[in-house]
């Protein structure tokens, strides 16, 4: 497999339901049920990490560092969470998440046929997202 910076992208709504999932070349098959479970599990982990905070004003996990990957998470003000699974030490993931959020607001929220908190099926969002990820990969290859 070629150099892959991002393995997968998840978007979960404010109640922990998976509304968007895209795989960019992780090893092994993950079926729909598994991705749904992982999304809701992440939602709860995020909430528990706020409960356990030893200091006031905690907003949940931003970055999870595992031995084989990094997970960057961004939570919007409305409670929608975006998280990417990427290579360890991949840079500029916060920026990428902000860009994805921008695409979400532009092409999903402004779509009059989109129902809030429901799975995202917007062609334009898919298209622009693919472009952004592609650009990110090219930038990474150019390092």
């Amino acid at each position: 497999m070629a150099l892959v910076a991002i393995y997968s992208l998840f978007i979960i709504n404010k109640s922990g339901g998976l509304i968007y999932y895209k795989d960019y070349g992780s090893a092994g098959r993950m079926d729909t049920n598994d991705s749904l479970r992982l999304a809701s599990l992440w939602h709860s982990m995020h909430a528990i990490s706020q409960q356990l905070s030893p200091t006031p004003g905690c907003t949940g996990i931003d970055l999870l560092q595992a031995h084989n990957f990094d997970l960057h998470c961004f939570q919007s003000l409305t409670g929608t969470k975006f998280f990417v699974v990427c290579e360890t030490g991949a840079p500029n993931m916060e920026m990428l998440l902000k860009v994805i959020y921008e695409l979400y607001t532009d092409f999903v929220l402004k779509n009059p046929f989109y129902e809030m908190e429901m799975p995202i099926r917007c062609e334009l969002f898919d298209l622009n997202l693919a472009q952004v990820i592609q650009k990110d990969r090219v930038a990474l290859l150019g390092r």
Binding site: S26, A27, S49, C58, L64, N68
Partner: protein, 224 residues
């Protein structure tokens, strides 16, 4: 590892039955010349090794990694949890903790639950391994992909699991660097002063004077 601990436990009534305190360590062990000659070791590490003869007994001859730095701001928390593989909280220490929302037992249970679930989460989501177990199946220590830290805006949690299932959790300021070496050092202290203590019964809360003393010394470097 567990078997070794158990055998220590059986030794307990035979050896040192009347000694109430922790066993004394050999204090003749001088710091290794490599340690003194190492120009790269920070002043923090030197402070750790430099004091009385007792402090010079390092669990291993390598210099201690620099303890996590303290910043003195409000977001600076320093908390350590030690769990065994059954989820019993063996040790809870806090050097600085501004906020307590839950009572201690609830806090420990929630923390262990979080780690348990995060372990199965990382093992399942791991994008580099093709063969994965189902989500929710309990994992043995070292099985599947594990994590070593996570970060929120107000704290960073550093995690280490030993092959025997001892879990060390160190909470620090969110901007501290990689603490895997610090955790290894704390684990060394645990092996040296808790596991090798004949009066310590495995699976019970740690009440070893020497361990606490060395832990405090190590962490104090961080606070001041």
């Amino acid at each position: 590892m567990e078997a070794r601990i158990a055998s220590k436990g059986h030794l307990c009534p035979l050896a040192l039955q009347s000694t109430p305190s922790s066993p004394r360590r050999r204090s003749t062990h001088a710091p290794s010349p490599r340690l003194r000659a190492d120009p790269g070791s920070s002043s923090a590490a030197m402070q750790f090794f430099g004091g009385s003869s007792l402090t010079s007994v390092a669990p291993d001859a390598t210099p201690a990694p620099a303890a996590p730095p303290g910043t003195g701001t409000g977001a600076n928390a320093q908390v350590l949890y030690v769990f065994n593989r059954n989820g019993v909280c063996l040790l809870y220490r806090e050097w600085h903790r501004p906020l307590r929302t839950l009572d201690p037992t609830q806090d420990h249970k929630l923390m262990f639950g979080l780690l348990f679930s995060l372990r199965s989460f990382t093992a399942k989501i791991d994008p580099t391994t093709a063969e994965k177990r189902n989500l929710g199946v309990p994992l043995l220590p070292g099985q599947g992909c594990s994590f070593y830290s996570f970060k929120t805006n107000t704290y960073k949690l550093n995690f280490m699991e030993s092959p025997s299932g001892i879990k060390l959790i160190l909470i620090t300021h969110p901007r501290t660097g990689d603490q895997r070496d610090s955790l290894k050092h704390i684990y060394n202290l645990y092996v040296e002063y808790v596991v090798k203590n004949p009066l310590y019964a495995p699976g019970t809360p740690i009440k070893c004077e020497l361990f606490n003393k060395h832990l405090d010394q190590y962490m104090q470097v961080a606070l001041h």
